[in-house]
């Protein structure tokens, strides 16, 4: 029956050796049957995929898997979809049954084009956003040289401080960019430990006190004590910082109130401001990559809320933005206290 299929069928020993294959498979990889059996499947996949295949085969000893794989056929790469299943044979031996089907060429080309387009868009935005603080930094350094020549030390001091601020700004942007790349490739890892969320919030507010002062925002805290969450410390901290510093940026002069409370088995962080508020159309959009609310005038990668949402959802939580009655916005982050992390 297997011989009459158009799909390639292969039977693999647990170490990846081809025990059996049908002629459709041999045709796919443009090899005579006797050159296939007894060889390793990895001999017929694209070089870059060998490691991935080994991993896939190992996992398929106990569960079914499906993946896209590039086979090599007559010196060309052949995109395929393979599905692997552990099989117990009549003689009680264990093998892995593999079905190989052609991946629609058009689909994989479209996917490749889309990936290239996204990467280019990302790079161009990243380049733009990094060049601007770099420009400022360069100007300050140029100015610094002139001030030094005139021995205007007080002003030189100020200029150097501003130069350093721009360097810090760039560092933060670069870290965010790296976060986005890691999120995209599913590598945002979590190390879980119990942490007191209230302490994290207080630390953040301390850290942002100067910025809050400069923005003319009075920060009011309403923190329920003893809320402990199983989490990777850096991540809720990053999520909370993003939301609070957002409030400072977009609601200058407004009082900001931060509430942390327990709701059953979850913690809720609410950040309220009395700023200009967010248009209803933007409330969901602002969490997308590179988006900013249409009323925003600040530069910045537009990644803060995207990263925040990724962190929150990876911890099994939710984040939402709402308009407040009487003006302003409320950002709510809900996090389960004991986390079942979701794969990226």
């Amino acid at each position: 029956m297997v011989e009459s299929m158009n799909e390639g069928a292969v039977s693999l020993a647990l170490d990846g050796t081809i025990l059996y294959c049908n002629s459709a498979f041999a045709t796919m990889i443009d090899q005579p049957l006797d050159q296939v059996m007894g060889h390793k499947l990895s001999d017929f996949v694209a070089k870059g995929e060998v490691a991935g295949l080994a991993d896939l085969i190992a996992r398929s000893r106990t569960q079914a898997n499906r993946a896209e794989m590039s086979l090599v056929s007559a010196a060309r790469e052949l995109p395929t979809q393979i599905s692997l299943n552990p099989v117990k044979m009549d003689d009680d031996s264990d093998v892995i049954g593999v079905i190989v089907t052609y991946l629609s060429e058009r689909r994989s080309r479209e996917q490749a084009q889309e990936a290239v387009r996204m990467r280019e868009e990302f790079l161009s935005i990243a380049s733009h956003e990094l060049r601007t603080p770099l420009s400022t930094l360069v100007l300050h350094l140029g100015l610094g040289e002139r001030l030094l020549a005139r021995s205007d030390i007080p002003r030189l001091e100020k200029t150097l401080r501003k130069a350093k601020d721009q360097a810090d700004r760039m560092t933060e942007l670069i870290n965010r960019l790296l976060d986005v790349t890691r999120i995209a490739s599913g590598k945002l890892e979590l190390e879980l430990q119990p942490h007191d969320l209230g302490e994290i919030v207080v630390e953040i507010v301390d850290h942002l006190a100067e910025a809050a002062n400069k923005a003319g925002c009075e920060v009011r805290l309403n923190i329920e004590e003893g809320i402990v969450m199983q989490c990777d410390r850096m991540r809720p901290q990053q999520a909370f910082v993003n939301v609070v510093s957002n409030a400072l940026k977009y609601a200058p002069g407004s009082p900001i109130s931060i509430t942390l409370e327990r709701r059953g088995s979850e913690a809720a962080l609410l950040v309220d401001d009395r700023g200009i508020g967010i248009e209803s159309d933007d409330l969901a959009r602002i969490f997308n990559r590179f988006e900013r609310a249409s009323s925003a005038t600040q530069s910045g990668l537009g990644l803060g809320l995207y990263i925040t949402r990724e962190i929150v959802t990876q911890h099994g939580g939710t984040i939402r933005a709402e308009r407040r009655r009487g003006g302003g916005s409320r950002f709510s982050i809900i996090l389960p206290l004991s986390v079942r992390p979701r794969p990226a």
Binding site: S124, S127, H128, R131, T132, P133, L134, S135, T136, L137, V138, L139, H140, L141, G142, L143, E145, R146, K162, D165, Q166, R169, R292, S294, A296, T297, Q298, S299
Partner: protein, 115 residues
């Protein structure tokens, strides 16, 4: 006139140019710039950023050229993207990051230092 949406960069530009003796007016986007230009004395030179929200540098330039009173003001584009991206009709294109020397040399070509 500076048209630049990044406040830090705008302040740095203003600081160095003022120190050199130029009088600076600043708008954080194209729309504000057009409003200011319509009410005020015309500047000798416009330093224009391209990527801005609300109204991009390209859109500003088109609007400027359609306005007889404003069309003659020379524009130097200060931007991240080079000639590779959408072209713009400007007197000069300067790529960010711009060094202080290049900035001052370029501005000197178009603008007068106020007494």
């Amino acid at each position: 006139m500076l048209i630049e949406d990044d406040a830090y960069l705008a302040h740095a530009l203003a600081e160095v140019l003022t120190m050199e003796g130029y009088r600076i007016v600043y708008a954080c986007d194209g729309m504000a710039a057009l409003a200011m230009l319509n009410e005020q004395e015309l500047p000798d030179l416009i330093l224009l950023d391209l990527m801005m929200p609300k109204m991009s540098g390209w859109e500003f330039r088109e609007a400027q050229l359609r306005n007889a009173r404003l069309a003659k003001i020379p524009v130097v584009v200060l931007s991240v993207t080079g000639e590779r991206s959408r072209p713009i009709d400007a007197a000069r294109m300067v790529r960010k990051p711009v060094t202080l020397d290049t900035l001052l040399a370029t501005v000197r070509e178009f603008a007068k230092i106020s007494e």
